[in-house]
């Protein structure tokens, strides 16, 4: 199967061109240090947004799970938020924030003019909408009798959430959360379109300097080096949960 595929590729009419422009190993090595330095930007953006997302999304999920008619306006707001930010293409949100807000010239502060800063906010807003839904599914999967048991001990609604419902909910949603973070890691490349010199942007620079696409290979490998371990970790956790579930007599 693979041999056939390989044969098709190497006998293709454009193979020689392809090899020159993508498989120039010399360029792989020479471009690597710059691209790796760019990749540090991706990692930083990824880590900062991830922390912000985990917090913001949890807040939204909690607001959306508030019971009773009193909290209807808050729940409605949370719903609008998730609908809007899941509906908009990520690239548009990045554009609007990273170009739009600095263009308003509200202050002269350096953070205000930093596109990296606004890109982090954009990714956080978008991904929080997804992650909030993941959290919410987790909260709903905890049986109401658990909250009743906690409340019957005299715990407040917040204490019951904090000590009984959320710990169980979060444990159940770790695998889907990791899945979303694989997506986030890839989407950090969107920063390239608004300016900050991250790995993909660095590769673009190297590409135009050399008129050669080979530079995208090390960039891709760097992304894979981070997302593949995340994917394996996700699989491992899912498998572990499945085994636990079977061991505890689940059906």
């Amino acid at each position: 199967m693979f041999t056939v595929l390989a044969l098709v590729i190497v006998t293709a009419p454009g193979w020689d061109d392809f090899r020159k422009s993508f498989l120039n190993t010399h360029l792989w090595w020479s471009s690597f240090p710059d691209i790796a330095r760019g990749f540090l930007v991706n990692i930083r953006v990824f880590c900062i947004s991830e922390v912000l997302i985990l917090i913001l999304a949890l807040g939204i999920a909690i607001l959306r799970s508030l019971p009773g008619p009193v909290f209807f306006p808050i729940r409605a707001l949370a719903i609008v938020y998730t609908d809007v930010f899941r509906g908009l293409p990520t690239i548009m949100v990045v554009y609007i924030l990273a170009f739009g807000i600095p263009a308003l010239q509200l202050t002269d502060a350096s953070w205000y003019r930093s596109q990296t800063y606004w890109s982090i906010i954009a990714l956080t807003l978008v991904y929080s909408a997804y992650v909030a839904e993941v959290y919410r599914a987790g909260i709903q999967s905890v049986h109401p009798s658990q909250e009743a048991a906690a409340r019957s001990l005299g715990l407040s609604r917040w204490q019951a959430l904090r000590h009984v419902v959320l710990p169980q909910a979060v444990r159940r949603v770790v695998p889907p959360l990791l899945n979303d973070f694989i997506g986030l890691q890839k989407d950090t490349a969107l920063l390239s379109i608004v300016g900050p010199v991250e790995a993909f942007r660095q590769a673009q620079i190297a590409e135009s300097a050399n008129f050669n696409f080979s530079v995208y290979v090390p960039a891709s490998l760097l992304f894979l080096a981070l997302t593949i371990p995340l994917a394996r970790l996700t699989d491992y956790l899912i498998e572990r949960d499945r085994r636990r579930f079977l061991a505890s007599g689940g059906v």
Partner: protein
């Protein structure tokens, strides 16, 4: 002295279904009262109303002279004084036995951790669970889990205990160990409201038995009277079925 619990005209509906249609009941201090009645007659709902897990539609609940259905009452404060044990145990699966038992005292009563753990260990020892202190609930038998649930409620040092069919989810072989714990509690003078299908147990432990039928207390009296000479035809019918089913 005011009765431990007074219920006055308690009504409760779920949507169109009226589950409690005017319950009047007084439970004296140190009294053990058993609620019997067919499935769906409203026993669980009544117990959940008493510790305010379900809001009542109308009527008053007075605990030790305090109207707890009044608007300004702090429900958390009321619940701290009333322990409830559920049919399905409802232990917290992500916590060890010790954590299950100390959660309430530590978070609701703000007892320092070491004191709470000491007290919990004492209680667990008293109920033969000392060696299970650090286990997680899913590693315990049903009987052990239910005893932990009882200890968890007792750790709050409640004045009143509500027990909702605490043995119905248990293997018959494990029923005895849980019932004997409840007997001990009764002897120690705990005020208890017990919903149960264990007629033998009700007969020997209860001070008074109430027969609940379609959301009303149709008949009540000493266990001897209810079980040997029930007056109401529906009570007679219910008891006859129980005897036929070999459950008494």
């Amino acid at each position: 002295m005011a009765p431990a619990v007074v219920l006055e005209g308690i009504q409760k509906s779920f949507g169109k279904l009226e589950v409690l249609s005017g319950i009047d009941l007084e439970v004296e201090e140190h009294e053990v009262l058993c609620l019997i009645g067919a499935s769906g007659s409203g026993k669980s709902t009544l117990l959940r109303c008493v510790n305010l897990l379900e809001p009542v539609d109308s009527g008053r609940i007075v605990i030790h002279g305090e109207d707890v259905t009044a608007r300004e009452v702090d429900v958390n404060e009321v619940r701290r004084r009333i322990g409830i044990v559920f049919q399905a145990f409802n232990l917290f699966p992500h916590m060890s036995v010790l954590k299950n038992v100390t959660l309430g005292p530590r978070k609701a009563l703000r007892v320092p951790r070491r004191d709470a753990e000491e007290r919990a260990t004492e209680l667990l020892t008293r109920f033969g669970l000392a060696d299970k202190r650090d286990e997680y609930p899913d590693r315990l038998s049903g009987g052990q889990q239910q005893r932990v649930a009882i200890v968890r409620a007792l750790a709050m040092e409640p004045d009143i205990m509500l027990l909702d069919e605490v043995t119905s989810a248990l293997d018959p072989a494990l029923v005895g160990e849980v019932l004997s714990v409840i007997r001990d509690l009764a002897q120690s003078g705990m005020t208890m409201l017990i919903a149960t299908h264990e007629m033998g147990f009700a007969r020997e432990t209860a001070d008074r038995v109430c027969f609940l039928d379609q959301g009303r207390i149709l008949e009540q009296g000493t266990p001897d009277r209810i079980f040997t000479e029930p007056v109401q035809p529906r009570t007679q019918e219910f008891l006859r079925r129980i005897i036929e089913a070999g459950r008494m």
